[in-house]
Structures are given as structure tokens and as C-alpha cells.
């Protein structure tokens, strides 16, 4: 397997133990650039932007999950912090709220003409904002601090978090996986009366626990047979979302979500109903099935598993790439109707790429894989899988099973890959982020991997043939001559041209 070395890196000091999911990249200040957010066992959440630490939120409890997303459905990213003892905090950037939400509201007015119920609340807030305060992004050099806008009690011991639209209403829901094999989904319900409240109003004093802006409402609860490895949201070929929950031994549970459009009120109703009776709950929860991917290799049924859904294929050559993989021509002809692939990795070092419950390929490595992420490393439009093991071995794989590895000479307690902004006014760069056991966060950037495979240099024969066009040889004959050169002469010719002419 090809191995690479990475040179460009930055290091941050960060003390404490970091849980697997207490590390995320996201644009929390809504300036279009990603920040790095890390939380530790002692309840400190630190936000890194560019080369520096911009904020530390402390005095929380053991941070287990961090996520950045538009959970309040206001076209504005907020930071969600879940602690082990069952508190959910929302942190938002007050200043950017003004500028960006107004900016985006205007955009939304153009784009989303189909009209969603939530837009009424936003247009309400829009009225309260003076439009001319739109700040240019570059002027936001002053460090904006996130403030807590909401806190709420939820069941304790969450270990996984996923944000995504599960019911097809355009709003984002939150799915939490708990250590007691339970998966719960929540929906943010804004307070209809106070939705126009501007939290930047310094005169307004409020306690985050007042639920002034709204609250999370539990929608569903599912119980798994075994411990949860990780949770991911996957969209099937028909575009319907499902929740995939990794189960030990390389298996997973799939919850097909019903995507009928539900308005906010209906949702509350149904969530209320679902808590009282299980039959109506099926309306939203859809169907649950277990998948035991048939595998040649004997698997340990107790080995923990990671799962990652919605791996993007390049639209142009997806048909071609699948042609290579699937042996039956009948399958490849219908490749357009196929779902996106998803990946599984087990702690014993098996990485699988699966599409429509058929294993496209699997590889076995001799390192314990604990983290599975995706990133378009090569920039060809399709996602690559980035997997990391406890001892720092990192695998970057494309969907054709080409693999490159990188070894960090240190043990890793949390890993993430994605886009991070190193310098303002520059696009985000691809990064591998490692939290080590030596109180540091190491970020490798500028991976510069255009291809995952390496080949010998092959000269352009047509160009090469120009050398041999002369009185007794026509261009066609010359091309033929170059084509018929044996390997040795071709190599010597290239060498001669490069170094001696």
C-alpha cells in the first residue's frame, strides 16, 4: 500500500481527554469559514479559528458530543454541546446573527418560493432588523464570542450525534445515540411568540434555561439490540433518508424515515402522540431492519463498528466507476437508479464500501480502526473515505479501493477530517485533525494528493513521433514506429530527451 508523508502541520495545545465525537469542524460564526471545535472530559469547549484559539467555554461537564448545524432552522449555524450528564446547550454567535441571517433571509426569499411555514417566523425577525447593518465578511476581524442561547435537560449518556433532515420538511433534526443502546431524535420547535427575539439585544437579559427561543421536542426513541458504534444518515436511491446505526460485528440497523411532509404543529402533535402510543409513532419512525452484510471473512460478533453514509459519487463517471466494480452488465446499466454507497469499518481493521446492501469491496488492515470520516481528498468530485486507527495509522481510500496511508507517530484519541480555514480570505483547506494523548491537537493541511495511485511516466506518443518524421517516413509511419518501440528504447529515448538534449 502506498504511504505518504505530510509535512505541513500546525499544533494547538489542548489539555484533557477528548471523546470520540467531541471534535468537529463547522462554521459557527457564519462567515463562510470553518472553525475547529473541541471539547474535553472536564467540560471545556475550545474554538480554534485559523492559527489561534478564539474562545473557550468552560465549566460544563464531560463533553461527549459536539455538532454544528442549523438546528434552529433559521439559516444560521449554532453549536450544539451535549454533556454526558444530560445537558444540551446551544451556543450562537450574536453579532453575525444580525448580518448573516438578514443576508440569507434575502437569499431565501428568492430561492425558496415554495414557501415553508418556518419562513414566516424568519420574515418576522427580518422586519426587526435594519437591513443596512450588513457587515462585509472581511471586517469581522474582532473576535466574536459565542453566547449560550439555550440549555435543556435531555436523557444522560449520549455518545453520538447526527444532524439531518429526517422527515423531508427541510428542517434539520438531531439524532442522539446513547450508551444504553437507545437512539433518540429531537426536533427544535421555535417559540412562536418569541421567535422574533433578538438575542443580540444587550438590554435583554435572559437565562438560557428559560427556553425563551424554543425547545427540543423528542420525536422518536428506538432501542437497538447491541451497543451503538456510530450513527449516520443515509439517503437511498429514491432520496428518502434513513438512519444507519452501526452494531457490533460489522452489522447495522437501518431506520427508514418516513418523509411525508409534516408541518411544525403536526410534528408536535405526532411527537406527543408517539410518546403516548406506539402505533402512531410508526408514522414517522418508518420501518426498522437489521442488515448483516454477508462477508467472506469470519467476523467477531463483539467487535465495535463505525458506519458512514451518503458517500458522494462523482456524477460524471459514477457509471464508469461502477462498471468496473460490478461484474454483471445488467447492474451497471441501471447504475443511475442506485443509491449512494456507504462505508463500514470495524475495530479489527476491516473497511467495507457497501452500496444497496452489496459489498463493493472490503480491505483488511492490521490496525484498529476507530474513526471513519469522508472528504474529497483528490478533488475529483467524489468523496474519499478517511479512516484512522488508535495508533495513528490513517487510510485514505477512494471508491475504487485505491488506498494511501499516512502514519502519525503518536496514539490518537479523536480524529476528524474535513475543511478548515487557516488564513482569512482564503478558501478552506483539506485537513486531517488528530487529538493526541499528549495534550495536543495536530492539524495536517495541504494534503496535495491529486491521485491516490502512482504510475510510470508515459510520454505522449504522438508528440514523440514528430522526432521521426523525415524524408523516408510519413507522419503516420512515424507514429507507427514510435508505437512499436520496445520498452527499453522508449525509456532510453525519454531519458535522452530529458537529460541530454
Amino acid at each position: 500500500m502506498r504511504a505518504i508523508s505530510l509535512v505541513k502541520r500546525i499544533e494547538f495545545d489542548f489539555t484533557g481527554n477528548v471523546a470520540r465525537n467531541a471534535l468537529t469542524l463547522g462554521d459557527i460564526d457564519n462567515d463562510g469559514c470553518n472553525e475547529l471545535i473541541v471539547g474535553n472530559q472536564t467540560g471545556d469547549v475550545t474554538i480554534f479559528k485559523g492559527q489561534e484559539k478564539i474562545q473557550t467555554i468552560s465549566k460544563l461537564n464531560f463533553i461527549t458530543c459536539l455538532a454544528v448545524g442549523d438546528i434552529m432552522n433559521k439559516n444560521k449555524n449554532v453549536l450544539i454541546i451535549i454533556t454526558a450528564d444530560g445537558w444540551c446547550y446551544l451556543y450562537a454567535n450574536p453579532e453575525n446573527n444580525q448580518s448573516d441571517s438578514s443576508q440569507k433571509d434575502i437569499d431565501e426569499g428568492v430561492e425558496e418560493v415554495d414557501g415553508q411555514t418556518q419562513s414566516s417566523s424568519i420574515s418576522g425577525s427580518n422586519e426587526t432588523l435594519p437591513i443596512d447593518i450588513v457587515l462585509p465578511v472581511t471586517s469581522k476581524k474582532d473576535k466574536t464570542q459565542l453566547v449560550c442561547v439555550h440549555m435543556q435537560r435531555i436523557p444522560a449518556n449520549s455518545k453520538n450525534i447526527v444532524l439531518g433532515d429526517l422527515d423531508g420538511d427541510g428542517n434539520i433534526e438531531m439524532v442522539l445515540g446513547l450508551t444504553d443502546r437507545v437512539v433518540r431524535s429531537y426536533k427544535w420547535i421555535g417559540n412562536p411568540d418569541k421567535s422574533a427575539v433578538d438575542i443580540t439585544d444587550s438590554g435583554l437579559q435572559f437565562d438560557p434555561s428559560d427556553k425563551l427561543l424554543g425547545k427540543f421536542v423528542a420525536i422518536n426513541k428506538w432501542e437497538c439490540a447491541n451497543q451503538i458504534g456510530s450513527i449516520t444518515i443515509h439517503h437511498a436511491a429514491d432520496g428518502k433518508p434513513s438512519i444507519l446505526i452501526a452494531q457490533p460485528g460489522g452489522t447495522f440497523m437501518r431506520i427508514k424515515c418516513q418523509t411525508d411532509y409534516l408541518t411544525g404543529e403536526e410534528c408536535i402533535e405526532s411527537s406527543l402522540r408517539s410518546s403516548s402510543s406506539s402505533s402512531t409513532g410508526e408514522n414517522i419512525s418508518g420501518t426498522v431492519d437489521y442488515q448483516f452484510l454477508g462477508m467472506a471473512r469470519m467476523r467477531n460478533q463483539n467487535i465495535s463498528t463505525e458506519i458512514l453514509g451518503d458517500i458522494r459519487c462523482s456524477m460524471n463517471d459514477s457509471g464508469v466507476s461502477f462498471d468496473k466494480i460490478s461484474t454483471t452488465s445488467q447492474r451497471s446499466s441501471s447504475s443511475t437508479t442506485k443509491g449512494k454507497p456507504y462505508a463500514l469499518a470495524t475495530l479489527d481493521g476491516t473497511i467495507l464500501l457497501v452500496q444497496d446492501e452489496i459489498i463493493l469491496w472490503s480491505i483488511a488492515v492490521d490496525h484498529q480502526i476507530f474513526a471513519l470520516t469522508k472528504m474529497d481528498v483528490t478533488g475529483n468530485g467524489s468523496d474519499d473515505i478517511v479512516a484512522c486507527s488508535w495508533d495513528g495509522e490513517t487510510y485514505i481510500m477512494d471508491q475504487e479501493k485505491n488506498c494511501v496511508r499516512f502514519h502519525l507517530d503518536e496514539a490518537v484519541q479523536a480524529f476528524h477530517s474535513g475543511y478548515y480555514n487557516l488564513k482569512p480570505n482564503e478558501p478552506d483547506t483539506q485537513c486531517l485533525i488528530y487529538v493526541t494523548f499528549k495534550n495536543t491537537i495536530i492539524i495536517y493541511y495541504d494534503l496535495a494528493l491529486k491521485e491516490l495511485t502512482c504510475k510510470k511516466f508515459e510520454p505522449d506518443l504522438l508528440k514523440l513521433s514528430e522526432l521521426f518524421i523525415n524524408d523516408d517516413r510519413t507522419p503516420e509511419e512515424s507514429v507507427e514506429y514510435v508505437k512499436n518501440l520496445d520498452k527499453k528504447s522508449k525509456r532510453e529515448l525519454v531519458e535522452y530527451l530529458l537529460y541530454n538534449s
Partner: protein
């Protein structure tokens, strides 16, 4: 150097030294690398090609016989007996605590040779060993031709040259009849190797293409550098220069200004004759030799045109910082502009590239960062595609970098155009 991209990083379990990387040239134009590490392991690194044309890196630990437990490898060298066969001779010097209680150190030169087979098999070579016991601690091991002119008939034989802690340079020659290697007397064949003030760290030997003259340079631990020219026919010194740098010298390197294409190639192949016709103007070869001396602490020095000026015409290669140790150097044309560049590797994990401007002044052009302190740099064709790859031997392993194909094609197009498009100024109406 931004056109170089990683092909592969071969990891070694422990570090080697500046003497423990050696290339094994294969007849198909590719190269294998033999790398020894401190803990007695010797790895063979190579690239294979898959059916789809992808390069598959392969790393194999080779167990050489007669390297006992507890021994440490000091230096290695290898050469091909003749360039059209895979018959490779490998020399390895080892040091070992003696089994008796006196705490004596035993040192050996082990010479391994295989048979000429279609497929080169390193395992076979590793099993047949000839052993030479040394009574000094070995340093640099290299090979060179022993040339004997006999009434105008040239007689070439490859010998091992080994410098040692006894401040002398020893030459070992194979006695084919007895199938043993024996030390031969320096004064007869290599009059340039006399007793030096301190152990010789590095030796470089350059033969003129007609094998009538030999230029030898060597550098010692104390900073003493010697440059000699020898008339090969009568083994007389033509000139003898020496200088003292006062620091540990890590490398001396004789580099011809231009590399002549192998004459044999052009003579044999009609293909090359055709190109040669088009390329006639550039063929008056500059027979200038430069000597690069890499000083560990002080800046590197380049002595220009040593055949004419000896050690008197020199310039220094500016350093980037004053805290690193310069360990190695390579001189080759990596950007295909027809002029050679100097690459110097340092202990501070960087390669410094020096380039000569139009006024013939050397400038530090570029610095490339790597991940570990560098022990050696080589530009060899690892894959057999005719393009030299950059091989960096560091404390962590061997990193192989390849030039980007788009860049190579662009260079190639330019070179082809130069040969095919007629020069307007030369045209006569």
C-alpha cells in the same frame, strides 16, 4: 521542487547512517534500494507494476548471511558486474563485539555475489558470502575500476575501496582463481591513497571517458580535503592539491559540468542517430569538472573547473541557518534546463536546492521540508520510466518522490520542439 510528489514512504524500524543506502541498478532501467538500519536489518525497497499500470511499492527484509547477532552495519556498497546483466556484488562492512572477554571489536567486510539470472533475486545474493577480516574500523565503502593499461590494451576490473580508522584507504580485489577477496597494495595501483591525518569520511573517484586519467578526492574527519589527478597508464600523480576546512566533512562530490550521453547508445541505435543529427549543435562537450565539498557545520563549497584550477577557483553555497548539520548532497539536473542543480540535505529536515544564475553565481533557490533529518539524497530512476526520481533517505525511512506527469510532458514537448522546429536564425534562403 514543487513538481515532485510523494510516491511512497518506506519505513525503516531504526535509523541508518550516511553509508547505509545503496542502489541496485537493474537491467530494465529500474532501481532497487538496499537500506540498512542500526538494528542489523537490511531492507530491499522497489516498485513493481500492477496489471493496471499502478506502481506497487514493495519492501522486503533481506537476511544476509554471516551478519551475527549483535553486529552493527557500518557501510554498504553494491555494483553490477557489467551493465547488461543482473549480476550484482554487494559489500557490507560490519562491526561486532568480540566473543572473547577482552572487549575487542571484530570488524569484517562481507562480500555477497549472486549469479546472473533473468530475474534478480536478492535472497540468492544474500546467501553467498565471502568474508574479509579487517583490523581497523571500516568507514566509507565504495567501488571503482582498477584500470591496467597493457600495451595500449585496457584491462578494467571493479575493486572495493574502503577507508578505515587506521587513517588509510584499503583496496580489495577479487582473486577469481581462489574465489577470495584480497587487499592489494595501494602504492602500485592507487598512489593517491596515502596516510591521512584522520579517518577518511568520503571518497569520490572520477575516470575520464577514455580511462587515461583519474581524478580522486577524499575528505577526512578533521576537515582535510585532498584532490589528486593520476595518469592511469603509469600510475603517476599529475597534480596534488589539499586544503583544510577544520570541520567534519560529510561529503565530497565530483560532478562533471555536463553528462555525456552514453556513446555506446548513440552508436548502436539508429533511432538515436536520427535524433543526433538534429541535435548536432549542442554536442561540443564541456569537459569541466566541479567539486562540491559538504561541510557539516560551515557552508558548502563548490570548486569550479578542478582540472584547470585545482582548488583555487571556488565559491561558497550560502546556508539557511547555522544550527543544522549538512549531511549529504546530490548534483543533478532536476528541472531539465540543461544546468545541474545542487541539492544538500540537512539534519533540520530540509533539502536546500542551489541553482546557478546566468552570471554563474550559485544561489539558494528553494528549500523543501521533509519529515525527518536527512541522511542521504539520491536522484535515480526507481521505476524504470527514464525519469530520475528523488530518493530521500532520512532517519525514519526512505521517501521516494516522482515528478508530476503533466510537468514532464510539458518539458518533453519543449525538448521535442527544440529538435524538430527549425531555428529561424539558422535558415538560409
Amino acid at each position: 521542487m514543487e513538481n515532485f510528489k510523494d510516491v511512497h514512504v518506506f519505513h525503516t524500524s531504526s535509523q541508518g547512517n550516511i553509508y547505509t543506502i545503496v542502489e541496485l541498478p537493474m537491467t530494465n532501467g529500474s532501481t532497487k534500494l538496499l537500506v540498512a538500519s542500526l538494528k542489523r536489518e537490511i531492507f530491499c525497497f522497489e516498485f513493481q507494476e500492477s496489471s493496471s499500470g499502478c506502481l506497487i511499492p514493495s519492501s522486503k527484509e533481506v537476511s544476509f548471511t554471516y551478519i551475527p547477532n549483535g553486529a552493527e552495519i557500518i557501510s554498504m556498497d553494491a555494483f553490477s558486474k557489467n551493465c547488461s546483466s543482473n549480476e550484482i556484488i554487494i559489500g557490507i562492512t560490519i562491526i561486532k563485539n568480540s566473543s572473547d572477554s577482552e572487549g575487542r571489536l571484530d570488524t569484517y567486510l562481507n562480500i555477497y555475489s549472486g549469479e546472473d539470472t533473468e530475474e534478480f533475486n536478492i535472497e540468492n545474493v544474500a546467501q553467498s558470502c565471502l568474508n574479509v577480516e579487517l583490523n581497523f574500523i571500516p568507514y566509507k565503502l565504495l567501488h571503482t575500476y582498477l584500470v591496467i593499461w597493457d600495451d595500449g590494451v585496457i584491462n578494467k576490473e571493479v575493486v572495493f575501496v574502503l577507508s578505515g580508522s587506521d587513517n588509510q584507504v584499503h583496496v580489495y580485489k577479487e582473486n577469481t582463481a581462489d574465489h577470495i577477496y584480497k587487499e592489494i597494495d595501494n602504492q602500485e595501483c592507487f598512489p593517491e591513497f596515502c596516510k591521512t591525518p584522520s579517518p577518511v569520511i568520503w571518497i569520490d573517484i572520477y575516470y575520464s571517458s577514455d580511462f587515461l586519467e583519474r581524478v580522486t578526492t577524499f575528505a577526512c574527519e578533521c576537515g582535510y580535503v585532498k584532490l589528486l589527478k593520476v595518469d592511469v597508464r603509469n600510475n603517476k600523480l599529475i597534480y596534488n592539491f589539499s586544503t583544510r576546512f577544520g570541520n567534519y566533512i560529510s561529503r565530497v562530490y565530483i560532478s562533471p559540468e555536463n553528462d555525456a550521453p552514453e556513446n555506446k547508445l548513440i552508436e548502436e541505435s539508429t533511432m538515436f542517430k536520427e535524433i543526433e543529427k538534429k541535435n548536432d549543435e549542442s554536442k561540443h562537450l564541456d569537459k569541466r569538472l566541479n567539486l562540491i565539498v559538504v561541510n557539516t557545520i560551515l557552508p558548502g563549497v563548490i570548486f569550479h573547473d578542478i582540472l584547470n584550477y585545482g582548488l583555487s577557483n571556488y565559491s561558497t553555497l550560502p546556508r539557511l541557518d547555522s544550527t543544522s548539520i549538512l549531511t549529504c548532497c546530490e548534483v543533478t539536473d532536476i528541472d531539465f534546463d540543461g544546468e545541474k542543480e545542487i541539492l544538500i540535505g540537512t539534519s533540520s529536515e530540509e533539502i536546500m536546492m542551489y541553482k546557478r544564475d546566468s552570471k554563474k553565481i550559485w544561489w539558494l533557490e528553494e528549500v523543501k521540508k521533509v519529515t525527518a533529518p536527512i541522511l542521504g539524497i539520491k536522484c535515480v530512476d526507481m521505476t524504470g520510466d527514464g525519469v530520475k526520481d528523488l530518493v530521500i533517505f532520512s532517519m525514519k525511512g526512505v521517501q521516494v518522490l516522482q515528478l508530476e506527469h503533466d510537468f514532464l510532458q510539458k518539458v518533453l514537448n519543449k525538448k521535442i520542439e527544440k529538435l524538430t522546429v527549425p531555428d529561424i536564425s539558422q535558415l538560409k534562403i
